[in-house]
């Protein structure tokens, strides 16, 4: 069943078929994790005892709040099966998620990501420029999200060139030499959005390099660029203007659902890949929002077997604009992101002492 989703060409599974296959798979995963992860079983027993089992609709699949991976170790494999532990990047001081993968799930997520990336890169591995420093991925034992992203994407390229040095300076001479060796070839560029903007684009003169046969994939969000007030449109325009880049695509994904990324289509929408789907929930009733109405994003993935992350309520806000009917030709839910749920500043205090005031009747 899973294979029928994974082996199809990217963005080719029609809605009804996908929902049927996914729902069955997710119900299986729920049972698998219930049996293998006592913590997950405890959550189901306490919070989901009234939900239909097995789920008949995607919206009936129990979800976990994604932050739970920050406070709790959740996994469905024994110690000796742990092959890799992924951590979310997180801001300094904030708790990070820990995601446990065994060999099988690590392999599956790589294959799935490859299937999705075909939509942008085709099946041939392209010469690849990583818009980061090699040093970022050197520390192989702690896979933070940035290193994991780079390493994950690197498998879709060849003859890798890291464009920045350890001090995040552009290796200009080496870049020119590398490009000289790959004239006329289709290229693949990958980097984090703010790195691309600050340390690559900001260093280049218009026309200095020609990337008209290249595809740039970038992720990590706009947060670090907010101070510079850079939006998606300007980002894309400047890139085209300076480098002639043919195709720029961001993506939406999280370490807690590694392997299933939502790629940005040429219309600027993020599409759920074959193996995943998205639901938008009303933040008061937690019912499903109709397409076109914004809400809290729930992501569903058919991949996670080593940890119970197949259905997660995120802290992101978004809207499903359409399903299977995006003008770009890709099938799957087409999503617009609206950023993070703002952190709540409650009137009292969690770390500060709140003493009494006369609210007495």
């Amino acid at each position: 069943m899973l294979d029928s989703l994974l082996e199809r060409p990217p963005y080719s599974v029609p809605r009804h078929e996908k929902e049927t296959l996914l729902c069955r798979r997710l119900a299986e995963l729920t049972e698998h994790h219930r049996a293998s992860c006592p913590a997950y079983a405890a959550v189901l027993a306490m919070l989901w005892s009234e939900s239909p089992t097995p789920a008949q609709r995607l919206q009936d699949v129990p979800w976990l709040p994604v932050q739970l991976f920050k406070s709790h170790e959740l996994r469905s494999i024994p110690d000796d099966a742990v092959f890799k532990v992924l951590t979310s990047s997180g801001t300094s001081g904030a708790a990070t998620s820990r995601i446990f993968l065994d060999r099988e799930s690590a392999g599956r997520q790589t294959r799935t990501l490859a299937g999705t990336m075909e939509a942008l890169l085709g099946t041939q591995r392209r010469p690849m420029i990583v818009l980061d420093a090699r040093e970022t991925v050197r520390e192989r034992r702690s896979f933070n999200a940035r290193a994991a992203g780079i390493l994950g994407m690197s498998t879709f390229g060849r003859d890798h060139f890291y464009a920045l040095d350890a001090d995040m300076r552009l290796r200009r001479a080496e870049l020119h030499a590398w490009l000289g060796a790959h004239v006329g070839e289709p290229l693949f560029l990958f980097g984090f959005t703010f790195m691309v903007w600050r340390h690559f684009l900001g260093e280049l003169a218009p026309g200095e390099i020609d990337l008209s046969r290249a595809v740039l994939v970038h992720g990590g969000g706009w947060k670090q660029l907010q101070a510079e007030a850079v939006g998606a449109a300007e980002f894309r325009e400047r890139l085209t203007e300076i480098t002639g880049l043919a195709r720029v695509a961001s993506y939406y994904g999280m370490v807690e659902q590694i392997g299933t990324v939502f790629l940005e289509c040429e219309r600027g929408r993020l599409h759920a890949p074959n193996a995943a789907d998205i639901l938008i929930r009303n933040p008061r009733t937690w019912e499903i929002q109709p397409d076109g109405t914004p809400g809290v994003i729930q992501v569903l993935s058919s991949l996670p077997t080593s940890y119970p992350g197949h259905s997660l309520l995120t802290e992101d806000l978004g809207t499903v604009l359409t399903r299977d009917r995006c003008g770009c030709g890709w099938l799957g839910a087409a999503v617009e992101l609206h950023g993070r749920v703002p952190r709540a500043e409650l009137r009292g205090c969690s770390d500060t002492h709140a003493a009494g005031l006369g609210a007495a009747a």
Binding site: L47, P65, S71, L346, R347, C349, H353, A354, A355, L357
Partner: protein, 426 residues
């Protein structure tokens, strides 16, 4: 020299060291004397006049507390405590998010005759601005010049140097910020003779007699739910005095129906009030509750929308006091109030109660044996400020006691005593 911003009285940038010099020579004000009472009353009047303050129920409660009838009661209590003199210079570090505490802390210290520095957080809110404005206006009166000269509300960024200077200079330091702030301030010493008064993170709870609940009429139940709503939700259940656990004392089955009843009414009170949590608090709470399902001995979780969740515990054994606030009630059923006593921890501060005779409450306090619970209050008064807080009487903490002994010992026997001591020493 470090420059800090003075918010009141007389806003503007000041040199901290020269300000400290000025405060040191400010006139001594008689503790609990007329001038001190007048200063508090003047701030109260200014708050009552301020239309912007009137929309803050906490400021209105503060203003009532600052009025003469109340401060006169405090003065007479203070006079009953022996001869009290000011400690000198008080340094207040109020909590970032509960603005009114700033003024309660300052007012008690003004009443005690101290000179005062208050370090207001840069995160302080609208209510703090109204307090500064009221203070500025009130202390502008010529007769209050001695108090004005001894009062400074300041703010500075997180830099430690100004905090260190004030800590070293003060005679008493009041830290309201909770564990983390207390820990941070402890690294900045006060002088050996100075006193540190610290308010740490606390946890609060409620206890209800199941029999009393069932014997209570419809309207009184409605009122109790409304009061619980005030107590728990005024600070989004994040205040140290906000009840976070409800202990039902009595028969388990009758307790279950009482619980359904109370929380349904509480949900109604929340709806009537139009209370809504910000989404970020809701998602954080959902994650906390899922974590509680993993870590805690729960038998049931239910909710009334985003704003109210009830987590039933099978036992209080091992209960840490971690809690996400935001309308999350732990509940447990015990045979009697006395059965709560073994579970009391030093974190526990306020116990809001309904339906217990005083003798039973006293027995509970004796059984708890001082491990925790500093206040027992009726529903609706959990958040009322009191000068007795966290087990301390602030009138005592902010003053020193002078004893005078005269006349009872005859001079002759005194001389003899000296001789006797002298011969012992030889």
């Amino acid at each position: 020299m470090s420059t800090v911003r003075r918010l009141a009285p007389g806003p503007g940038d000041v040199e901290l060291e020269s300000l400290l010099d000025e405060l040191r020579v400010a006139p001594v004000v008689e503790p609990f004397g007329d001038l001190a009472l007048e200063a508090c009353d003047a701030v109260a009047r200014a708050l009552f006049r301020d239309p912007a303050a009137r929309s803050h129920p906490d400021l209105i409660a503060l203003a009532s507390w600052l009025r003469r009838p109340n401060t006169a009661r405090l003065a007479s209590e203070a006079r009953s405590l022996g001869m009290r003199v000011p400690r000198g210079l008080a340094f207040h570090v109020p909590p970032a998010n509960v603005d009114a505490i700033t003024m309660y802390s300052l007012a008690l210290s003004i009443l005690a005759g101290n000179r005062n520095i208050v370090r207001l957080s840069s995160r302080a809110g609208v209510a703090a601005a109204r307090i500064c404005a009221a203070l500025d206006e009130a202390l502008g009166a010529p007769e209050l010049a001695p108090i004005r000269a001894g009062t400074a509300i300041l703010t500075w960024e997180r830099e430690l140097s100004a905090t260190a200077v004030c800590s070293a200079a003060c005679d008493v330091r009041l830290v309201w910020g909770g564990d983390e702030t207390v820990r941070a301030l402890r690294s900045l010493p006060v002088s050996p003779g100075a006193k540190d008064v610290s308010f740490i993170d606390r946890f609060s709870l409620a206890a209800i007699s199941v029999d009393a609940w069932h014997a209570t009429g419809e309207r009184a139940r409605e009122e109790l739910a409304r009061r619980l709503c005030n107590d728990a939700y005024w600070f989004d259940q994040q205040g140290c005095s906000s009840p976070r656990l409800v202990a039902w004392c009595g028969d388990p089955q009758r307790a279950a129906s009482a619980s359904e009843d109370l929380f349904a009414r509480l949900a109604g009170a929340l709806t009537a009030r139009g209370y809504e949590l910000p989404l970020g608090a809701v998602t954080a709470k959902l994650a906390w509750i899922a974590g509680a399902a993993i870590d805690r001995p729960l038998t049931r979780v239910r909710d009334h929308g985003n704003e109210l969740s009830i987590l039933t515990l099978s036992t209080l054994t091992g209960l840490d006091r971690e809690h996400c606030g935001a309308g999350t009630f732990l509940e447990v059923t015990l045979p009697a109030l006395a059965d709560l006593a073994p579970h009391v921890s030093p974190r526990d501060q306020t116990l809001a109660v309904y339906g217990f005779p005083r003798a039973e409450l006293e027995r509970f306090v004796r059984l708890a044996g001082g491990r925790g619970v500093d206040r027992i209050v009726p529903f609706g008064e959990a958040l009322s400020f009191d000068h007795r807080w966290d087990g301390m009487n602030l009138l005592t903490e902010l003053t020193r006691q002078v004893t005078i002994s005269t006349g009872h010992v005859a001079l002759g026997s005194l001389a003899l005593g000296s001789v006797a001591l002298g011969s012992l020493a030889a």
